[in-house]
């Protein structure tokens, strides 16, 4: 039984740190793909969890659109449901944050992250793999929401290009939230803390123009809500889908598309280096 003997360099990509940058990059991508496949395997192992994640926002749409919608009017006129859908797309991106946080913190607390860190793999691959799997998850979630919307009579009224740009902005927000999720997941030290943070997703969503127009709130709350990064994406997608809800004349509202790019870029610029630093310095 010589099961113990297996040279590490048996792969087609031999190990070594003096390798050329292109080779290293190819390896990082290969490692990232392995990690992505691992997360996709989780989907097939626990389909329930994943499907609930996709269906949950649909439930919220039905609650707000069906139950509360009749009582909410959209300033400047228009159908509340049409107003709500772009907000809910944004909310779906925010829900994705919970998935990221939970996955990252579970790996860290179970020692899986440490094993990855003790392997000669590229450390960015762990994060890239997580990134790819979570983005894919959110793309499916967004598709489910858009189909739901179309079935319930929501539609975009602008061009296909503008609609595609709206989808792009939503995914850009999701990308930025990914880094917040990775950072909190690594820094929190356990699933218990993460559950507490998850509850905060709701006030963050309510304190924006996702569900109601910020103009209907008390002035100071409205100002906070307007500057909420989620509001920027919600307003920008409303504008690009040509859905109702554009009416406020504040600077942020007028420049929603710009802010829907600036906010995610800023968030990424802050939290990507923070996550990388925390990953390298993980303690326990």
């Amino acid at each position: 039984m010589n099961a113990a003997v297996q040279p590490r360099s048996a792969g087609s990509l031999p190990a070594g740190s003096g390798d050329s940058p292109p080779l290293r990059f190819a390896r990082a991508l290969a490692d990232a793909w392995t990690i992505t496949l691992r997360d996709l395997a989780h989907w097939t192992r626990r389909p329930g969890t994943v499907v609930v994640g996709w269906v949950f926002p649909v439930m919220i749409v039905l609650i707000f659109g069906g139950l509360f919608g009749g009582a909410i009017s959209v300033p400047g006129g228009g159908d509340y449901f049409e107003f709500l859908m772009p907000g809910m797309f944004t909310m779906t991106m925010l829900f994705g944050l919970e998935t990221t946080m939970m996955a990252v913190t579970t790996d860290a607390s179970r020692g899986v992250t440490d094993r990855f860190r003790s392997l000669p793999m590229s450390s960015s691959a762990v994060v890239l793999g997580r990134c790819a799997a979570d983005m894919l998850n959110s793309v499916v979630g967004l598709a489910v929401m858009m189909v739901t919307g179309l079935l319930l009579d929501w539609s975009w009224h602008g061009g296909a290009g503008a609609a595609a740009a709206a989808v792009g902005l939503l995914l850009l927000l999701r990308f930025a939230l990914l880094w917040i999720g990775i950072f909190i997941g690594l820094a929190s030290g356990g699933p218990e803390t993460v559950s507490a943070v998850q509850i905060l997703v709701w006030p963050a969503g309510f304190l924006s123009n996702i569900f109601v127009d910020a103009g209907t709130m008390p002035a100071w709350l409205g100002a906070i809500a307007e500057w909420n990064p989620l509001s920027a994406t919600a307003s920008a997608t409303r504008e690009l889908f040509a859905n109702p809800g554009m009416g406020a004349d504040s600077w942020v509202e007028q420049n929603a598309v710009l802010m829907a790019v600036v906010w995610p870029v800023l968030i990424t610029a802050v939290f990507l280096p923070l996550s990388a630093r925390t990953f390298r310095r993980l303690k326990a």
């Binding site: 039984m1 010589n2 099961a3 113990a4 003997v5 297996q6 040279p7 590490r8 360099s9 048996a10 792969g11 087609s12 990509l13 031999p14 190990a15 070594g16 740190s17 390896r27 290969a30 490692d31 392995t34 990690i35 496949l37 691992r38 395997a41 989780h42 192992r45 626990r46 179970r110 020692g111 899986v112 440490d114 094993r115 990855f116 860190r117 003790s118 392997l119 000669p120 793999m121 310095r281 993980l282 303690k283 326990a284």
Partner: protein, 323 residues
């Protein structure tokens, strides 16, 4: 550092944790492990064993000192070090949602085995660790012993020149412990250098060529298990009495024959008597007890265990006589 024969070296490694220390730090940690040997790092909870392993496996940065693994500097050649090591942590670091086989294939891929080789290797390892049947089930449903074995298997997907094993058998039943020991032994026979931390003296005695005793972040004694045993004190006579009255009555008698301090386990009515000359002391003690009219239940002559060495060196004097 350029010592070719040392697979692991550490010189004056320091690490302190700011705030409430969850783990013990290191306070001038020195270590030298010869290539192809097993070094047992023995110490109580909080001695810094895990911290030492985490620093040597590049998971944690040290505050000061120098260390090398497989000839590579831990600080500046982290990737090289990671290419040379396997790490079996204190907890089974495997994906609980995936099956055992999926885990092994994934770690094989991350160790740069091509997909078919990774699958073949996974099957080999499952067979070797008696997990073939469980291989297709999610790890979440495994027993503690099965998880540890899978964790060990995951570290052996490629055989690393240096293997760190942090408390490999904590919480395992004797059969599973035996299997883990066998696996570690096989690795060493194949030329792997192993640094093993343990709280079990039996484990260090069984597996390690050399033992380093760690207390409060530094090595306080180092040597082969035999060397350590004879360094601490010589032979001892162990006597078991039938009750507390006999034990109390025997103490002054035994104290006269002893070459050092008696150790008394009150509940077991057991007294340990350190002696200088083996057989002659035995006769003397037996005669003295006989003259005092005390008949012991059992009397044996033996060498010290690592336990005693350990307790002595770590300053734990629970079994010392209390006057």
């Amino acid at each position: 550092m350029e010592d070719e024969k040392s697979a692991i070296t550490a010189q004056d490694v320091r690490k302190s944790y700011s705030g409430a220390p969850r783990e013990a730090g290191l306070n001038g940690f020195d270590l030298r492990v010869a290539a192809g040997s097993v070094c047992g790092l023995l110490g109580p909870n909080g001695a810094g064993k895990t911290t030492a392993i985490r620093i040597l496996s590049t998971l944690l940065e040290m505050d000061g000192g120098r260390a090398s693994v497989a000839g590579f500097d831990v600080r500046t050649q982290g990737r090289r070090v990671r290419e040379s090591i396997g790490l079996v942590g204190q907890y089974a670091a495997v994906d609980e949602i995936l099956t055992g086989r999926q885990n092994l294939v994934m770690f094989g891929r991350l160790n740069r085995l091509p997909a078919p080789a990774a699958r073949r290797r996974a099957d080999e390892l499952l067979e070797r660790f008696d997990l073939t049947g469980a291989g297709t089930r999610p790890v979440g449903g495994y027993s503690g012993g099965m998880r540890r074995k899978l964790d060990l298997a995951a570290s052996l997907v490629v055989s690393p020149p240096v293997l760190f094993v942090d408390e490999p058998t904590t919480g395992l039943d004797p059969a599973a412990r035996q299997e883990v020991w066998t696996a570690v032994r096989e690795l060493v026979d194949a030329g792997t250098t192993v640094l093993l931390t343990t709280q079990y003296l039996e484990e260090a005695d069984r597996l390690a060529d050399r033992v380093c005793m760690l207390t409060a972040g530094r090595v306080v004694a180092e040597g082969t298990p035999e060397e350590l045993k004879s360094a601490v004190e010589g032979d001892r006579i162990e006597i078991v009495f039938s009750g507390p009255a006999d034990t109390q009555a025997a103490l002054p008698v035994l104290a006269r024959a002893a070459s050092g301090e008696l150790s008394v386990e009150t509940a077991a009515h057991r007294v340990g008597v350190p002696v200088a000359e083996r057989t002659r002391a035995l006769v003397r003690v037996a005669t003295a007890l006989n003259e005092a009219g005390i008949e012991p239940e059992d009397i044996t002559l033996r060498r010290p265990t690592l336990d005693e060495v350990f307790l002595r060196l770590t300053g734990d004097d629970r079994t010392e006589v209390r006057a």
